[in-house]
Amino acid sequence: MITDVNMDIKDIQIQLEKMRQAFLVQLPQRMRMMESELLEIQEAIQEEKSDLLHDLLTQAYRSAHSLTGAGGTFGLQEVTESARELEDVLSHFMQSNTHLDNQDYTAILGQFGKLKTVVTATYESKF
């Protein structure tokens, strides 16, 4: 994007709103991507591929972190708070350095479910 340094405040606010709309449009795709990342974690647990888990958790953590930062920047506070809670759960399992089991995965999935509910409500309220 090329930024015009001569924009006035009203133009800037219009641009910001356009960016916010573009972010909102991408939300369902982001959630689908996160869902597939979590499925990879589930598969790794079920197939006992514990050597893959840290990288998969890191990948999912980065996606949650990305949503936390971008959501807040676009004024979607509820999305940010829920994504941060998912970050915290994923971070706990990344640092615990233990083998995850199905109960752990259920905890991750539960937090993701809450995030998905918030994101869906946010998306539907805007379109």
Binding site: I9, A70, G72
Partner: protein
């Protein structure tokens, strides 16, 4: 440290959405000349040629994180004293203190308000300038 006016900012952030908003905030609102890098590696490779007055560094990035990037930038001859501001969601007092120990001039909390981001950058720049003049 420096007495020049603040003009050139190097901004290091891996998130495209946040880059775009910050670019609008810093160029259109702040009037700064901005060079954006998407990774610590890119920043280290491009920083000397751009010669920024100040560097804005995201803390959490894949590959080289903010503190690692800062350490690498400090090894470049022309960037040993360029003020660096960390941008992070982790802004508890202890965390901020740690960033300052690492050599940051200040910390800006994420998520940031695009309309006031430039003011926060200028505030930290002034604090650096005042310290160097004292």
């Amino acid at each position: 440290m420096n007495t020049r006016p603040l003009k050139k900012l190097l901004y290091v952030e891996d998130e495209i959405d946040i880059q775009t908003v910050a670019k609008l905030a810093l160029e259109a609102i702040g009037g700064f000349t901005l060079h954006v890098c998407s990774s610590g590696h890119d920043a280290v490779a491009q920083a000397e040629a751009f010669a920024p007055d100040l560097i804005l560094l995201d803390v959490m990035m894949p590959g080289m994180d903010g503190p690692t990037t800062l350490a690498a930038l400090r090894l470049l001859p022309n960037l040993t004293e360029t003020p660096v501001i960390f941008m992070t969601a982790k802004v508890q007092a202890q965390e901020v203190a740690q960033y300052l120990v690492l050599g940051a001039a200040g910390v800006i909390a994420k998520p940031f308000d695009p309309m006031t981001l430039s003011d926060k950058v200028i505030q930290i720049w002034h604090s650096v300038t005042e310290k160097s003049a004292a």
